[in-house]
């Protein structure tokens, strides 16, 4: 125990989370799937201070003299997976007191020590959009996270250059958000409530514009409308839960009327309206499950939807919707889509780069390219094979999951205590304390 306390103290001394190494690290010998380029059979990836500094065939990449070499011969190395729709961290579905709650934030409700967060790392997920639920028309603001090792939400946040915490806004139509009063009872009413909210937000924005920065002329602060103004100004993307063909078209109609940026989520009837989605230039965050959708509006959920959307030219990312599907099985979404006819290239793109674009983080994550964050995973084989395992997960150059570590192994396969909240996940502690 005293030894452990000492180790924790050491961890604290060098910073709470493990830091990216000062020396460059060179991962050599693996097949590298950069995603934005063709597979590299014998590749070298060099990372330094959390960033990718070189990637390419072993022959053409020079390993710096001071670099730490990591031999990953026989393994497959690809970008960390990006999940564009998840519910990890024990966040609530939504506050049932009213149908529209754009002021509520996942930020204020997520437990980063929840076992599900480490299970996501075990599944190779390094960036995730954590969403509130679909039981309300809008259950609140979503949160984009980097799954860095950390015991507080702040350590996992993604921020833009101005320091703004990144996330979107959840909206939902169809049957989940149709309930008894005060919720809408029909699709027509649902759409009307959305339009009313957007009209109010337009009015609010106009009042702010007219105030020309004069504090006494500004309208009183309204947290819900402020969020919607961000949406109208293109600063916050709407993540819209929608299954049925007509509900999908309703989202596109709202989008056209109010001009916000939107991602269609789930999209069970995607094959029926693929042309319309493509024409609107709207991306899709697709769920792929191996069985029927479990409700009327999801009855057309199919492993073939990815193919239909790909053929129409739609940008398709996959999501876990954890706990609808387990984050540890995220690779499966792409594999099943390939079973349904989607191309291997687009399916792997859908786990990584497509979602990076969907979350507008494509300059930082989603592919293995020089200058991007060193978020990558080491796999035992082909990412689309059921027999392959995520062996290690790295975020910004720091290992956050290692299957050879007994604690991580427990999370990866399950077992006694595997679903309890994590007391603490410190690589520094784990690597030194238990071995």
């Amino acid at each position: 125990m005293r030894y452990r306390l000492l180790l924790v103290a050491v961890c604290l001394l060098f910073g709470w989370t493990a830091q990216a190494q000062e020396k460059p690290q060179a991962y050599v010998g693996a097949e590298i799937l950069p995603i934005t380029g063709p597979p590299i059979p014998n590749g070298t990836l060099i990372v330094h201070r959390g960033k990718i500094v070189a990637v390419g065939p072993a022959k053409s990449v020079t390993v710096p003299a001071d670099a730490e070499r990591v031999d990953v011969t026989g393994k497959v190395l690809m970008p960390g997976l990006v999940d564009s729709h998840s519910h990890i961290g024990g966040t609530a579905g939504g506050d049932g007191s009213a149908p529209l709650q754009p002021d509520a934030r996942v930020l204020d409700s997520l437990n980063v020590r929840d076992a599900g967060v480490q299970k996501a790392r075990a599944g190779g997920i390094t960036t995730v959009n954590v969403m509130p639920g679909s039981g309300l028309l809008s259950s609140g603001q979503t949160l984009y996270l980097k799954l860095r090792s950390g015991g507080t939400i702040d350590e996992l946040l993604l921020r833009d250059e101005q320091g703004t915490i990144l996330g979107g806004l959840k909206m939902a139509n169809g049957t989940n958000s149709i309930r008894t009063a005060p919720m809408p009872g029909t699709r027509g009413k649902s759409a009307a409530l959305f339009r009313e909210l957007f009209v109010k937000a337009q009015d609010y924005r106009e009042k702010i514009r007219r105030a020309e920065g004069k504090p006494d002329q500004l309208p009183p602060r309204d947290l819900a409308l402020e969020t919607l103004v961000e949406v109208l100004n293109g600063k916050r993307v709407v993540h819209f839960h929608t299954h049925r063909h007509d509900d999908i078209l309703t989202v596109l109609r709202l989008q056209k009327e109010f001009g916000f940026r939107v991602v269609l989520h789930h999209v069970s009837d995607g094959a029926l309206v693929a042309k319309e989605i493509a024409a609107a230039g709207v991306p899709v965050s697709l769920i792929v499950i191996d069985t029927p959708g479990g409700k009327l509006e999801a009855v057309n959920s199919s492993i073939g939807t990815g193919l239909a959307l790909e053929q129409a030219g739609v940008l398709v990312g996959f999501h876990t919707d954890d706990s609808i599907t387990d984050s540890r099985l995220f690779l499966r979404a792409a594999a099943l889509a390939v079973r349904g006819g989607m191309s291997r290239e687009k399916a792997l793109f859908g786990l990584t780069m497509a979602n990076a674009k969907i979350l507008e983080l494509d300059k930082r994550v989603g592919s293995l390219e020089v200058g991007k964050d060193a978020d990558f995973i080491v796999l035992s084989g082909d990412p689309l094979s059921i027999y392959s395992k995520v062996l290690q997960t790295f975020v910004e150059g720091v290992k956050v999951f290692d299957r050879s570590n007994p604690k991580d192994y427990l999370l990866a396969v399950g077992g006694y205590g595997a679903s309890h909240d994590q007391v603490m996940h410190l690589d520094c502690y784990d690597d030194g304390g238990d071995q």
């Binding site: 191996d290 009855v299 594999a335 399950g414 006694y416 595997a418």
Partner: protein, 423 residues
């Protein structure tokens, strides 16, 4: 392990005739199945997993009159003239889902097609799966497309004693034409999932076992009265509920106990020992904690789906449990189970694949959804392997059956090509 149809009004022998009759009269009813009449078939495969010995390279399975006539390497087995030939990369026996509610629960998840649990009373073993199975349910069609040809389906977890299960083939437009064993098991749920609504019994684990013991003691008394009655009129009057407990006491059929927590599993073993019951453990998320006890009791396990959600009482499940149990010598079959939300059924093919990726060999994993399942369900004389005299139930794949990127290319039940679509 399960006695066939005793005194329940069904004769399996007669069913085959009924099946043929039904086929001749309602051929159009089996939508999308292409041809419906059993014909002589030769199924060729680059790899044939017979599940009775090593896989055969370049093998062939001959099916005549719905039964397997010959199995072996192509060089040794001549395909007679007039046999329709099907060819695939990989051929396996028809898959068996050892526990599901498919056919009672439906594809659309709507009221009216959710017949797997009756909440009106905690103990209702008299509820028969036969009276609730929709042979035309789209979900049956769905699982068949992914290779499932035999299911143990019926009343599911959710009340202390929810009812009976039955064994069916995923064929036919009526339950009569599908059924193999009309009364296969009595389903019991221990732990939280088997509690009644607040304020009603059972609300605790101890009460669950007390209620079950009381039922078996009552059945013992009934049995004694039946055996000691000197004349017909002194025999106890019929009681459908008691009758089922009597049948369990007589070991005519097993008790299927869904229990995830290790201590609930031990309670099931204790109950089975006290009343000398045939027991099959179901779900059994924490079974890896009590393997010695399960093995000593000689009890098989119909394990939760490998990729089942690790929440609630199943929070401690492991994807390696199938491997642990099998390597400890405990018979294991996999199931699709039942979940209230998504998915509406799991595919045992994928669940076995995940088990293969977590400690089982391909053959061991395939066994959990073929021969081992057939043995646990007591129908290994009919299904589970490709052997002469068994039912001509075959699945055709275009690659490793467990790879997500492979496809099911065809499904044959008793010599009838029931699915030709690619899944």
């Amino acid at each position: 392990m399960i006695n066939r149809v005793q005194g329940s009004g069904f004769r399996v022998q007669g069913l085959r005739f009924l099946w043929l009759l039904a086929l001749m009269t309602v051929t159009a009813a089996i939508a999308g199945s292409g041809q419906c009449l059993a014909q002589d078939l030769a199924v060729r495969g680059e790899t044939v997993y017979t599940m009775a010995g090593e896989p055969i390279r370049n093998g062939v399975v001959l099916i005549r009159g719905g039964k397997i006539e010959q199995v072996g390497p192509e060089k040794q087995v001549k395909i007679p003239a007039g046999y329709k030939t099907l060819t695939a990369r990989v051929v396996t026996p028809g898959l068996i889902d050892a526990h599901t509610t498919t056919g009672l629960s439906g594809y659309l998840n709507q009221p009216g097609e959710q017949e797997q649990v009756e909440k009106s009373a905690p103990i209702q073993p008299e509820l028969r799966a036969l009276d609730a199975y929709n042979a035309r349910e789209r979900l049956v069609d769905w699982v068949r497309g992914y290779g499932v040809t035999t299911m143990n389906t019926g009343h599911g977890p959710g009340t202390l004693v929810s009812g009976q299960t039955m064994l069916v083939k995923t064929k036919g437009a009526t339950v009569e034409s599908a059924v193999l064993v009309p009364s296969a098991m009595v389903a019991v749920t221990l732990g939280g999932a088997g509690f009644a609504d607040a304020g009603k019994a059972p609300g605790t684990r101890a009460k669950q076992i007390a209620m079950l013991r009381a039922e078996f003691i009552k059945a013992q008394e009934t049995l004694r009265k039946q055996e000691t009655a000197t004349t017909e009129d002194k025999k106890p009057t019929r009681d459908l509920r008691v009758e089922m407990f009597v049948r369990l006491l007589k070991r005519e059929l097993p008790l299927l106990v869904t229990a995830h927590r290790s201590y609930d599993i031990l309670s099931a073993l204790r109950l089975a020992k006290e009343f000398n019951l045939r027991l099959i453990l179901d779900g059994a998320a924490e079974s890896y904690l009590v393997m010695d006890e399960i093995k000593a009791a000689g009890v098989p396990v119909i394990l939760h789906p490998t990729m089942y959600r690790s929440t609630g009482e199943a929070e401690n499940l492991s994807m390696e449990t199938a491997a642990k149990l099998i390597h400890a010598g405990i018979p294991v079959a996999l199931q699709s189970g039942y979940e209230a939300y998504v998915p509406k059924t799991r595919m045992v093919l994928f669940e076995a694949g995940a088990a293969a990726a977590n400690g089982l060999t391909l053959a061991e994993a395939l066994g959990t959804i073929t021969m081992q399942a057939a043995k646990i369900l007591g129908i290994s004389d009919r299904v589970g392997s490709l052997e002469i005299g068994k039912d001509g139930d075959v699945v055709l794949f275009d690659g490793d059956p467990f790879e997500y990127t492979s496809h099911v290319k065809g499904v044959v039940i008793e010599g009838v090509l029931v699915s030709e679509e690619t899944h």
